[in-house]
């Protein structure tokens, strides 16, 4: 490591270059994060907008109905469109809705008179049609009308007073596409988030002194940013530059003195940065926005950590289930895997090659296929598991029914079936590398088999098993397919683990920001776990030092 010590002493001009490089990197990462936030928000925003128009149509219809049948009749006969009266508001995308003006398409100056007349007739005809058949589906039908430089959307709703249907009221909303309001605030937020990420990585890499100093700065930034977004970019970029200066200076020095070395790592690192780290930074960015793309600060995190009373399950329950899930799985995988490996390692055992080949088969089959098969095997009526129980005169169990325990057990059995071969193979490899003379020596010294196992086998297995267990527990912690496909989280999301709960928030509830915040918490939990295991056992150092 002499080179890096040297580089630390020679901080001068390279420092400036590194600072510029750091600022650039964070600007790029932040830009990508903003891009994602914007895209996702826009897509979800469109759906939300239409719902909102329908709601205001209903409200307008009710208001009109409250004024009596005459008012409704007059409105319907005169203008094809009834005005919207939502407060004028420009959203994050520069689209202003409704405003306080009555929008009557037929009288819009931007429309050619002939078009306006045609449109007016069409609207009246449609209104008549709706009046004669006020079906529920029609109420939420939207029509977009193109007018030069403007976009209108309309929705209809029934005007009902005292239980009497008075007619359909159409609400037309003008959508004014404007300059998208991707603000400095968003950009700043994204940059600051990237900064936080860098901080986490620095912590992980052990640059604790540096990270501690930068942590204070970042904390202040976040506190500032949550109250006032202005000026974030400059502050964050400066912080980022300060934070990353030293490592980058070292890196630049390395690049100058031993460029050949970096040629070997560059392909892997570059592809990891583009396809793993940048997407992750974008995900981090998402977690600070709601699904409409409005920055909400820490609201997603607060909602997760202090959940509303109406939620099916809380973060803490799900976390508990995840821990239970991980621990039971890893214990079963390791004990079954190790047990089988010990049996298969007996020198006098015949056919062990055959057993070994057949026992690793579960590993080779795509796990979403096996998950589906197991799900069906747990079927109450037709499943093989209950048929098996019936052989012993036992009653069938409603495995995937309303009980947490049976759902959890079904998941556990499936994943144990999937997971033990990996541990078995790792343990077999390690067992085969233990020199046989050690056992002979132990035998000569009068050690029993149990003693030989405890004092010879186990200590020598540890270096291979510990990294495998850590890796296996991280995989199990994030094992999506089994939970999602076997129990599906049932009953009532109770058997969901953190990752499936995050997916549920994303796919079913459409809350991408919330899901991203959830995922970020999962990441931090795993990071803490990794850090702890690294501290507790130095056994992983062989792999990572």
């Amino acid at each position: 490591m002499t080179q890096s010590v040297e580089s630390r002493r020679r901080l001068g001009a390279p420092q400036v270059r590194a600072a510029v490089a750091a600022a650039l990197i964070f600007a790029v990462v932040g830009g990508c994060a903003v891009g994602v936030v914007r895209y996702v928000a826009e897509r979800e925003h469109r759906a939300a907008l239409l719902t909102e128009i329908a709601t205001s149509a209903e409200a307008a219809a009710q208001r009109l109905a409250a004024q009596g049948p005459e008012a409704v009749a007059a409105a319907l006969a005169d203008a094809a469109a009834v005005s919207v009266v939502t407060p004028g508001k420009t959203d994050a995308f520069g689209i202003s809705r409704g405003a306080e003006v009555a929008v009557d398409l037929t009288r819009d100056p931007r429309m050619a008179p002939a078009d306006a007349e045609a449109h007016r007739r069409a609207l009246l005809a449609r209104n008549a049609e709706l009046a004669s058949a006020p079906d529920a589906a029609a109420q939420r039908r939207f029509e977009q009308v193109e007018v030069p430089d403007a976009l209108f959307a309309s929705a209809v709703a029934p005007a009902v007073a005292d239980g009497r249907y008075l007619g359909m009221v159409r609400v037309v909303v003008e959508l004014r596409p404007g300059e998208p309001a991707i603000s400095m605030a968003r950009f700043g937020a994204a940059v600051a988030l990237a900064l936080l990420l860098a901080l986490a990585l620095l912590f992980a890499t052990g640059n604790v002194r540096l990270a501690g100093a930068a942590g204070g700065a970042a904390g202040t930034l976040v506190a500032l940013g949550l109250t006032a977004f202005a000026g974030w970019t400059a502050l964050a970029a400066a912080g980022a530059a300060a934070l990353a200066t030293r490592p980058l200076a070292g890196l630049l020095h390395g690049l100058r003195t031993q460029p050949g070395t970096y040629l070997y790592v560059a392909p892997a690192i570059l592809s990891m940065v583009v396809l793993v780290f940048i997407p992750f930074a974008m995900g981090v960015g998402l977690s600070f926005f709601d699904s409409r793309g409005e920055p909400v600060g820490l609201a997603n995190f607060i909602e997760i950590l202090s959940p509303p009373a109406t939620a099916d399950t809380t973060f803490y329950w799900t976390f508990g289930v995840t821990v239970l899930w991980t621990v039971t799985n890893v214990v079963l995988h390791v004990s079954i895997g190790l047990g089988l490996a010990l049996l298969l390692n007996r020198p006098d055992l015949r056919f062990k090659g055959v057993y070994r080949v057949l026992l690793i088969v579960p590993w080779a089959v795509p796990n979403y296929i096996t998950a589906l098969i197991w799900k069906w095997m747990f079927n109450t009526q037709y499943g093989a598991v209950n048929a098996f129980l019936a052989l012993f005169g036992l009653d069938g169990v409603d495995w995937l029914g309303q009980s947490f325990a049976t759902n959890f057990a079904a998941n556990l059995i499936t994943n144990t079936w999937l997971g033990f071969p990996f541990m078995m193979v790792v343990a077999l490899g390690a067992l085969q590398s233990i020199p046989k003379d050690l056992y002979e020596a132990a035998h000569i010294d009068g050690a029993s088999r149990l003693q030989a196992f405890r004092h010879v086998t186990l200590p020598l297995l540890k270096p291979a098993l510990v990294p495998a267990i850590i890796l296996g527990s991280v995989w199990t912690f994030n094992m999506f397919n089994v939970i999602y496909l076997v129990s599906g989280g049932g009953p009532d999301n109770q058997t969901n683990i953190l990752i499936t709960e995050a997916y549920h928030a994303f796919k079913v509830l459409g809350r991408s920001g919330f899901a991203a915040a959830y995922s970020l918490l999962i990441f931090f939990i795993l990071l803490a776990y990794g850090w702890m295991t690294n501290r507790v056992t130095k056994a992983t150092e062989g792999a990572y030092e």
């Binding site: 997407p279 006098d348 093989a384 490899g429 030989a452």
Partner: protein
């Protein structure tokens, strides 16, 4: 407790039989779900049998389900299954080649050189294993969309090869570390370049580990479902796992075809496992044991 343990003499015959009995029971339990799949695939119709017997009824056994799956075509008459098989083969092989290139070069540098950023790089690989997949899906989709790689094999190839890097580097670096440095030193004396050492000495010596890396890269690509399902919406661009999913409906599953297709998807990877299983045992643990 006077049993002499791991020696070849003195074990009772009953003990051997008991061990075999136990292993046969475990093996049967392990293979049972897959035997069921084979049975369903060979049975006529699309229902899931309620019987416990995992052996197909030979009287009614038929290859109809396999025939139906293999001859799947588009309405225009293009051979869809063939196309999807080709996609899977191309994507998996290209992922393997690219994955090995990315992983061996990086693992070699991490194992043999000391350079600024080495520790951070290794840590970053480790930390990346903890990124939850749900979080990566949206950004990756957008990235692929932006690069115009949706519905293209290249998109999946680069993503698969990249996501397999950390595990492969971890495994390969462990193996490289066990190769004595004397060999390289004498090669340097003879005037060999760094790349020659990597190409002519390290790689040939680590063939078992490289084989395992290849197996993993291939398996990741061949079996992966969610990303392929997300990135590909044109049936002609599907990989086989996504094609299998077509038999899984909202409410019911076409079990016969599903089982037949599952078997067809699983067979190549199983064959590779059988071929490479000796390496698997050694290659996976070499790095760890050295610790």
């Amino acid at each position: 407790m006077t049993d002499p343990g791991h020696s070849t003499v003195g074990r009772s015959r009953w003990g051997v039989w008991a061990t075999h009995g136990f292993l046969v029971a475990v093996t049967l339990a392990t293979l049972y779900p897959l035997m069921l799949v084979a049975k369903i695939a060979l049975s006529p119709g699309q229902s899931f049998s309620a019987s416990l017997n995992p052996l197909p009824d030979l009287a009614t056994a038929t290859l109809d389900n396999f025939r139906a799956v293999v001859s799947e075509s588009t309405p225009e008459g293009e051979w869809l299954f063939g196309r999807q098989l080709l996609n899977s083969v191309v994507i998996s092989l290209a992922t393997t080649v690219l994955g090995i290139f990315l992983a061996t070069t990086a693992a070699y540098a991490f194992s043999r050189f000391r350079f600024p950023g080495r520790r951070a790089g290794l840590m970053a690989f480790l930390v990346s294993q903890m990124f939850p997949g749900v979080m990566m899906m949206i950004p990756l989709y957008l990235l692929m969309q932006h690069l115009g790689l949706l519905n293209r094999p290249l998109g999946l190839i680069v993503v698969y090869a990249t996501t397999a890097i950390p595990f492969c580097v971890w495994m390969l670096k462990g193996y490289f570390d066990t190769i004595p440095k004397d060999l390289e030193e004498s090669a340097i004396m003879d005037g060999a370049s760094q790349f020659t050492i990597f190409w002519r000495i390290i790689l040939p010596l680590s063939m078992p580990a490289v084989a395992v890396t290849a197996l993993f890269s291939f398996m990741t690509a061949w079996n992966e479902f969610i990303l392929a399902f997300t990135f590909m919406d044109d049936p002609r661009a599907f990989t086989l796992p996504v094609a299998v999913n077509a038999y899984v409906g909202e409410k019911s599953i076409e079990w016969g075809k599903f089982a037949a297709a599952s078997m067809l998807v699983s067979l190549p990877v199983m064959a590779l496992f059988f071929m490479l299983q000796k390496n698997l045992v050694g290659g996976l643990t070499a790095g760890g044991v050295k610790g």
